[in-house]
Amino acid sequence: MKAGKKVLAMFLAATSVCGVFGATACSKETETFDDTKSQLFVKYYNGGVGRAWIDEIIAEFEEEYAEVEFEPGKKGVQVVKDFEKSIINVNNVKNDINQVYILVNTVYSEFVANDAMMDITDVVKGKALTTKGVEEDVTIESKFSDKRKSYYNIGTENAAKYYAIPFFESSMNLNYNVDLFEDFGYYFAAGQTAEGMTEAELHDFETVATLFVQSDDDERSLGPDNRTGVVDGVNYSLDDGLPATYADFQALITYIEADNIPFIWNGTATSYLTCFANEVWANSVGEAEYDMAFTFRGTSDTLMDLDANGEIQYNEDGTVKMLPADQEITPETAYKLHAQKGKYDALRFANMILSSDYYKDSFTVNYLDAQKYFIKSSEMKEFEYKGIAMMVEGTWWNNEARGIGYENDTDRKSYRFGVMPLPKPDASQLGENNTKISERESLMFINNYCDEYAIPIAKEFMRYLQSDRAMNVFSRHTDMLRAMKYDLTDDTLGEMTYFGKNVYEMSRAATTDWVEWMPKSEEAQKNRSLLDYLTWGYNTAQGSNPFELTYSYGTSPEAYFTNSYNYIKNNWNVKSGS
């Protein structure tokens, strides 16, 4: 008995010791350093975007630079990978071994202010490397969009100072199952709209069924852009047959619910829903109006005329009362942006999604399961072999679903999904551009405390990552886009899934406007904490997630709007300008 206890005690002690060593073991994947080569330590946020693309680039980089001497007595480069799903605190960069960082949710200005990032103006002003020693024709700076150029350039136009390069472009989308839409004919027929229908009619299957195509040959409606075909080189067909207005969207839900499940989203990262609501708001008011949140200045044309209690007022015809155009917005009055009609529209949209049992298992499943169900539910008994039509997820989801939702690459390419251009609140806004928000601050930079020997390697690697070729590798693997100006080659497009191609078309469409979630004026920069994408839009005393709060408390869009407007107005405490 005693011997047994001793054995048990020794076993437990050994387990504890192993556990401690296991927990503190070096996280670098390369355990042995090749002394004949120079090492470059790279930290990469290995999240939904995955690592296949960077593994490929690094392998090529190492191969191409195998004969290059960056240090006396050493030949070639060994990239030491720190690829975990983690970011780094700005204060830890100084003592961190890594030299190049490719991260998400990293606040650029804060890293610059704390001297964590190296000045890489020479890299940005220089040209990208297609392969070793072969430069592209254009500078890396020219691949920045104008908005990103102005944000990343901390200096002036004449004396620019860049410390980082944008990484990927993403938004929180309403993704739709193209196969399901095709199979069940969930496309509006040409000339059909649900505008003008009563609430009862919108919820009646027999009534709304007449709006949809009856066969594959039927011509489809124009969609939110209100045009079709290619006009002046612009393709307006991307949204054909998709719901053009909120009324159409409600009709679509009613139609889908008869045979399938309209929605899914995950219940663990519910912040996605807040981001999606931000997207609906932006799409309703348009780029210029929504962008005022990031400058705290301008004149707004979409403010509602609220009463003294912050409640929405209505005209005799039932439409909401609006203030005259050109309402001035200053930092002191920027809370008024929360009276934009787009915010109310977004709350109505959220309520429409939540107002019935349209969402199977959402709010309880994790994001990987949500993705799997979205892809495979029509093959699963527990879903009664019903398909799920739409899912709220970030652009990275189709890559993240590898191995769980998708069994293999062939499986992945056999499904068709797309990003739905969001409908407009009513017919009066048809034809306005589709406005999307790029809200994850993802970037790449060099550690300001990078070892001397590694600086040329790090800069060479950064240049290597910015070539059109490298960015095509990124897109081919991830079905996403780098947040830079470049084109995808036919080879790349041929390797991408339907979803990836759709993301590319949508992003580059002339009918798509992008709002960058970046404080752009001094006042906005000083008040950055107000612009947290999780709290800016829908903050109330109870919380800031409109979907979750509507679900929990059953609040109406009108009550939520007033509650949020009053809360933000009463707590508006903006720090004044310089």
């Binding site: 970011i87 605190n89 700005v90 949710n105 990293t106 606040v107 200005s109 804060e110 610059v112 202010a113 704390n114 901390i154 100072k161 410390y163 219940g267 663990t268 990262a269 519910t270 912040s271 049992d357 298992d361 959402s362 709010f363 309880t364 499943v365 809200e439 601050e441 979630w517 001094e522 920069q525 000083k526 008040n527 950055r528 904490s529 612009l531 947290d532 994408y533 999780l534 109330t540 005393a541 109870q542 919380g543 800031s544 997630n545 979750e548 709060l549 679900y551 929990s552 408390y553 809360y567 009463n570 707590n571 405490n573 720090k575 310089s578």
Partner: protein, 302 residues
Amino acid sequence: MAKPNVFAKMKQKGTLFYWAIVILPILNYLVFFIGVNFNSIVLAFKDVYILKGEKHIDWVKFDNFKTILRDSQVLEYLVKNSMMYFAVTVCVIIPLTLLFSYYIFKKYFASGFFKVMIFMPSVICSMVLAIFYLNFTNEILDKIIFKPRIALMKKDEYATAVMIALFIIGGFSSNILLFLNAMSQMSLSVLEAARIDGASEIRTFWSVVLPSIWGTIVEMIVIAMAGIATQQANLQAMFGNEARNKMRTVGYHIFVSIFTDGFESETNYPYCSAFGLLATLVIAPCTLISRYLMRKFGPSEE
């Protein structure tokens, strides 16, 4: 003649060993208590912001405190929830733990088994326990018992009950060791005397055991009270940084307030420092007074 150095002097006086022992705790105290708290207090009166890649720090007097107090509705939720978890600790966890400790101390039926089972949650990492519990609520409670699914954790009326249950399960075990240890310090002759005098178990527990371990009970309550403002009540483990305000405690709120866009931002430190300072100003005197009163008017061994 060369002066003897400091170490030689101390060796001569025989104080070298003493200083070698105390220097680390003193340094630790100076850096990690005095230094950190001083910095936090000063930060509460400052504003940090970043402009054009440069950090700016301004003195703003009581602005951060005003910001906290202005948001009275959120403050009300935070205080109410923190007090609720404190009440659960004092009224549920400590009494239950006492009873179970006594049961185990008296070596009643299967006490060894209970000892292991009750202590189990404190051996398991709290995050693992929370994940297990979350799956339990989502899969067992929600899927099987509540039909159709109602997403328990997204409805306040259920989520609060679920969180309190987890709080009790998690908090139940760690106190047992302390109470068992306190009970084992009791004089067996007193217990034996009570038994010979014919005292019932309840009477023995109330009149003999409780007064004997009252000091430990007071300390447990004092620790719980001092921790009101830092108590996160497993919210981080269950909700990440996204718990609804109505569910939040002061400790959790301060913790998540350092994040902007999912990233820890230095610009939020002053608000959090002010909140911490405000909480300390309220809780510290309450804790000291309560401790004094409990010691003065609590049961005595005499």
